[in-house]
């Protein structure tokens, strides 16, 4: 397993990573989620050995890798723009790591065929990389990274440049593939939909630190900070006054922030009054936006409601979660 | 300081000479014309000298310079019949026949030729006029030699083992002094010249491509380790004039029995529309005004016997009394074969 201990990275005056602790268990898919500029890519590069940390250590099992060169760590990485070797064919790209490792021609051919079948590109061996579509290129890049059997595979927003439908399909394929191989992986994305679809555990990053790390269900249920809550898609964040009041009533004892999870909030025959200001049909349900006391809230309903309708809101107690405003923790 | 003295001496001499000079008759009807003089890169005269010509005749002279002597002649031959200039100066006796064969010139016998020794007038038809001459000789570095080892006396001495590894020459295929020295040995030894060069080679002669390399690279003067070099009879005065720091006398001397005479000619180019003016220029080039300007500018000797020499030349320049010469026609006819044989013997 991978373990990072208090890893810090600076670029000039910029503190890009600030004392990051992280573990990835064997066979686990960890998703790093965060906005642009929060240091996700830098973290990956540091783990890969492409950046040197100013402080902190990187361990694999019990071996300290901090001083080990990138080509000796046995980690693989996939970039957003695939970075295929333009002067080589598909087969030669996939076989590159095997060639370096000294595999014979026959062995290489066989492994390349296996991998191409795994990523759904049977028969693509002789193609030139210039002629591939975006999705095909990413799959070749995946096959290439998997070929030398890396201890850990890192994927840096690999689907970001693809269109939505393709992305959706590929995320599923990717998840199945990684699980099937039992491959330890770190997957970086800014899209929380992807994150939740793939992750065994999610680590939410903000400003060079890991703000919240845990299983998706846990993180969703208890984001702990406002920043994390927003980055995973929560929107029903209410501020409490000194007595703990907000537009939905008295939800706490003192001033602060509170989250009312949208999966807990529901329409009810009675409760807090609200007015419907938006309704979007999505995958068989209605995503509603309602307005209460000047505040907008999200929830989901099975039955259609009209714009401007008055409705009542209710929620279970455990749907209310306190948040801290800043990212200290 | 010495340079300044030489300059003033020259100026003084020129003034004196000017006063005594008999004026040449000026042809009619050429005033206001402009003619072009094609020369090689080593040509120069003082400011005012060409102006004197314009003052006398009313003809303006424009200068055109076309590379070194060989390049200039090649250019002239390429443009024969439609020349770029009116007068050509700087064809020497080694290239003369080639230029004559290409029919470059209009014959003209200048009245001033009476002042020029007949030995210099190589062309009986006066297609070209001798303007200056010099000798290509082996120069030696004075300090290297003394009573126990005197400087070599003749060409024979150069193959003496006492002087092994001391001589540097230039490739006659690519260097004018190199060619001149080869011709000197041919003039001396006739058919035996090939054996002579084989002996020189055994005596460890060094060969360079051009004069600069030999003089500045191999010769002691330029920091090398050889005390004998093929150069010009006018090199010692130049060493004296341009010494830094100044010296009492030149550090080099000339082996007078190794000299080959080089004569430079001027001629009116065929096809020129300004024949009369061109001829007037030839006359002027033989005048004392021009001739006395030559030594310190081009480091050769004036052809005209009435011209006075500058002090540095009087003191330090030596002319061979009986230098080697070969007829231009012979030179042109055999030159390629000689240089090919030379290359075989010396370089391969």
């Amino acid at each position: 397993m991978l373990r990072l201990e208090r890893v810090s990275v600076r670029f000039g005056q910029n503190q890009v990573l600030n004392q990051v602790d992280l573990t990835v268990a064997s066979g686990e898919v960890l998703v790093l989620l965060g906005p642009s500029g929060c240091g996700k890519s830098t973290l990956l590069r540091t783990i890969a050995g492409l950046e040197t940390p100013a402080a902190g250590q990187v361990f694999w099992e019990e071996q300290n890798l901090t001083a080990v060169a990138a080509h000796q760590r046995g980690f693989g990485m996939m970039f957003q723009d695939h970075a295929l070797f333009g002067h080589l064919s598909v087969a030669a790209n996939v076989a590159f790591g095997l060639r370096i490792a000294g595999w014979g021609v026959g062995q290489r051919q066989q492994k390349v065929a296996e991998l191409l079948e795994l990523v759904g590109l049977v028969g693509f061996e002789g193609r030139s990389v210039e002629t591939l579509s975006g999705g095909e290129a990413q799959r070749v890049a995946l096959a290439r990274s998997l070929a030398p059997d890396p201890r850990l595979l890192m994927l840096d927003e690999p689907l970001a440049s693809l269109d939505r439908a393709l992305r959706g399909r590929l995320v599923n394929d990717l998840g199945q593939l990684l699980r099937g191989l039992g491959q330890s992986a770190i997957y970086v994305t800014h899209d929380y939909g992807e994150a939740f679809a793939l992750a065994d555990r999610i680590a939410v990053m903000d400003g060079g630190r890991i703000a919240r790390c845990g299983r998706p269900v846990e993180v969703w249920a208890d984001p702990q900070t406002e920043a994390v809550a927003r980055s995973i898609g929560h929107q029903n964040i209410l501020s409490l006054d000194n007595q703990g009041h907000c537009v939905l009533g008295r939800l706490g004892g003192q001033a602060g922030l509170v989250l009312v999870r949208s999966d807990g909030l529901r329409l009810a025959p009675s409760g807090v009054a609200a007015r419907v200001v938006g309704s979007v049909f999505s995958q068989g349900r209605y995503d509603l936006q309602v307005e209460v006391g000047g505040q907008l809230l999200q929830l989901s309903a099975v039955e259609p409601v009209g714009l401007g309708d008055s409705v009542y809101l209710a929620w279970p107690d455990d749907a209310v979660v306190p948040l801290v405003a800043s990212a200290d923790g | 300081m010495k340079r300044l003295i030489s300059f003033f001496l020259l100026a003084g001499l020129t003034l004196v000479a000017c006063g005594e000079e008999a004026s040449q008759p000026v042809p009619e009807g050429i005033a206001g014309q402009t003619i072009t003089l094609l020369t090689h890169g080593s040509f120069w005269v003082s400011e005012g000298t060409l102006q004197a010509f314009t003052d006398q005749t009313g003809v303006q002279v424009e200068l055109l310079e076309g590379g070194d002597a060989g390049e200039m002649v090649a250019s002239a031959i390429l443009t024969a019949g439609n020349p770029v200039a009116d007068v050509l100066y700087g064809v020497d006796n080694t290239f003369l026949q080639r230029a004559l064969d290409a029919d470059l010139f209009e014959p003209y016998a200048s009245p001033a030729l009476s002042n020029v020794p007949s030995a210099l007038q190589l062309d009986g038809q006066h297609r070209v006029t001798p303007i200056d001459f010099g000798d290509v000789c082996v120069n030696y570095w004075g300090d290297w030699f003394d009573e126990t080892l005197p400087p070599p006396g003749s060409l024979d001495d150069l193959i003496d083992s006492r002087y092994a590894g001391q001589l540097v020459v230039q490739n006659p295929e690519t260097s004018s002094p190199g060619l001149a020295f080869l011709l000197a040995t041919i003039a001396e030894y006739g058919d035996g010249w090939e054996e002579y060069w084989a002996a020189l080679r055994r005596n460890e002669v060094a060969v360079t491509t051009g004069w600069e390399e030999a003089y500045y690279g191999e010769f002691v003067s330029g920091g090398g380790d050889r005390p004998l070099v093929v150069s010009y009879a006018s090199s010692p005065p130049a060493e004296f004039i341009y010494a830094d720091p100044p010296v009492e006398s030149p550090p080099t001397g000339v082996l007078l029995d190794t000299c080959f005479r080089q004569i430079e000619f001027a001629g009116v180019l065929k096809g020129t529309p300004h024949q009369a003016a061109a001829q007037a220029l030839i006359d002027f080039m033989l005048s004392d005004t021009f001739q006395e300007d030559i030594p310190l500018n081009m480091f050769v000797f004036p052809a005209s016997q009435t011209a006075a020499l500058p002090e540095a030349f009087v003191n330090f320049a030596r002319l061979a009394e009986d230098p080697y010469q070969l007829p231009p026609a012979d030179i042109e006819a055999h030159r390629n074969e000689w240089t090919e044989r030379w290359t075989q013997i010396v370089l391969r």
């Binding site: 080509h71 370096i100 | 076309g66 360079t208």
Partner: protein, 535 residues
């Protein structure tokens, strides 16, 4: 993509006319003489000829290989790292390019003496190594800047991938980087090879009398043996070889990859040791001969002083003008030559990028030829061909800068064309849709984007002109228009320490002038304005 307007015929005709009148017509005039009396056929049967041809090819190839090997670390440095003094290093690397061969040869000879490489059995001079060393010295700049500039534009993450797949740094370079650099390397190698193939002064002075190349043989036959037929026949062979080379090189370059991303933000400071080692190598290769020259220029009979420099302001007896005036003439000619090269080269670049395929190929090919044609051929050709109205240019004072411009144009072409090619067509299309005419698109889109590339090409053209192209020594000119390199030849042509010291001082001034000019012309490269041309 096409600029079909009244302006377009002009853009096409100007380079065609320029090349036709000042290059094709003169050269053809000389080359036909080679076919007279079947001289060319005879030549091909002579053993000497094949020996000479072999040596010419061999020394050019060896020089090119050495230059590539020595310059690649430096190119890496310039491409991947940001450090203070970067633009200074680039300017410094351009300086040797400029120096007249006679001065470089002199510097190397002095250098060999300093290090005792000239005594007894260890004679460096006249060995092939001296020749190769001088060639490398001259041409480092071309490789450094062509390859360095192209390398800068390559995405470094491909190399990172290779590292992550287990490749050691050496393997990364050989298997990934080098193949990707191939177009730039081919471009640089072809130019260096051409220069070395037609090298003249270096061969004569450092190669010694036993070594001959096609170029020196052409000169020897034309000037010394008066044998224009043989000289022309040799020139035909030379031109044939050059043409094949240009065709091959152009083909290799067309395979250049498409648009690559560049991450200008991720440029780390190199490790001190790496930086030091690379810089050290470059400085030794470039700086030693220069230092030797400077030392020689300051040495006078009375110890070290600036006397030699002071003497340059006065007219020495042997020179028609003062050395400073000669420098001024050189600068004047260089300015005119650069302007011509920029104009004609700029138009030609437009044709190569936007014109019809056949026209584009023709220009790309034809305008490179002057680099590889013998100076004798061109110089004498101009003399013979341009002798009658309406083309009676042979005594024209500006013929010299024209000849210089012929050499400068390939440099402009090589910088501007790749940059123009990389302009996203969508940008131009947007401009058109916003109402810009093709001419305005050229002015408002192409010109600003390619402007910096043009500046770099201009800097090289300037440098080449100052260093004087050999053909111009065969053109008749007025002595008042003596240029600095020719003045140098004169000063070195007469015995006397004074004159030699002055020659060295003039050479140093020439170098400083060029370095400054290159810095000024190129300006300080801003972070974003990376020139992705050839140089």
């Amino acid at each position: 993509m096409t600029l079909r307007r009244l302006a377009w015929p002009v853009v096409v005709l100007v380079p065609v006319a320029f090349l036709g009148i000042f290059f094709l017509w003169p050269v053809t005039n000389i080359l036909v003489k080679g076919f007279v009396g079947g001289r060319l056929w005879e030549l091909l049967h002579e053993a000497v000829f094949w020996r000479v041809l072999w040596f010419t090819v061999w020394q050019a190839a060896a020089s090119t290989a050495l230059a590539l090997v020595l310059a690649l670390p430096g190119a890496h440095l310039l491409a991947r790292f940001h450090f203070r003094g970067r633009s200074l290093l680039r300017a410094l690397a351009t300086v040797p390019f400029v120096m007249p061969t006679v001065v470089v040869a002199g510097a190397f000879i002095a250098l060999f003496e300093q290090f005792g490489l000239n005594d007894g059995a260890f004679r460096m001079r006249h060995t092939v190594w001296a020749l190769l060393a001088a060639h490398v010295f001259f041409n480092l700049a071309i490789v450094l800047r062509t390859v360095g500039s192209y390398w800068e534009g390559l995405d470094g993450r491909v190399e990172e991938q290779a590292r992550l797949l287990g490749a050691r740094p050496g393997q990364v370079f050989l298997r990934v980087t080098l193949p990707r650099l191939a177009p730039a390397v081919a471009s640089a190698a072809s130019v260096v090879f051409l220069f070395c193939f037609t090298s003249f002064g270096v061969i004569l002075l450092l190669g010694g009398p036993t070594r001959a190349t096609l170029e020196t043989e052409i000169w020897r036959h034309a000037v010394w043996r008066g044998d224009m037929a043989s000289a022309s026949a040799l020139a035909v062979v030379q031109l044939g070889a050059v043409m094949s080379l240009v065709l091959v090189s152009n083909f290799l370059q067309r395979r250049r990859g498409g648009r690559e991303q560049t991450r200008l933000d991720s440029r780390p400071m190199p490790s001190r040791r790496l930086l030091g080692a690379n810089l050290g190598l470059l400085l030794v290769a470039l700086g030693l001969p220069v230092l030797v020259l400077v030392e020689r220029s300051l040495a006078t009979g009375n110890g070290y002083s600036f006397d030699n420099y002071r003497a340059l302001t006065v007219r020495v007896t042997l020179l028609p003008v003062s050395a400073l005036t000669a420098l001024g003439n050189s600068v004047l000619f260089a300015v005119v030559a650069t302007a011509l090269a920029v104009l004609v080269g700029g138009f030609a670049s437009l044709v190569v990028v936007y014109g019809r395929r056949s026209l584009s190929h023709f220009f790309d090919f034809g305008l490179m030829l002057p680099l590889g044609v013998s100076a004798v051929t061109l110089g004498f050709g101009m003399l013979v061909a341009l002798d009658a109205p309406p083309m009676d240019f042979r005594s024209w004072r500006w013929l010299v800068p024209v000849a210089h411009a012929l050499i400068g144009i390939p440099f402009v072409l090589r910088t501007v064309v790749p940059t123009l090619r990389r302009i996203d067509p969508k940008v131009r299309e947007s401009a058109a849709l916003l109402g810009a005419s093709p001419f305005q698109v050229g002015r408002l889109v192409d010109f600003p984007l390619a402007g910096r590339a043009l500046a770099v090409g201009a800097a090289f053209a300037f440098a080449v002109s100052i260093g004087e192209f050999g053909a111009t020594s065969f053109l008749p000119r007025h002595p008042d228009r003596l240029t600095a390199p020719l003045a140098l030849f004169r000063l070195l042509g007469t015995p006397g320490d004074l004159l030699r010291g002055q020659a060295m001082a003039l050479a140093v001034l020439l170098m400083v002038l060029t370095g400054l000019a290159v810095l000024v012309i190129e300006g300080r490269p801003s972070g974003r304005g990376v020139v992705r041309g050839d140089f």
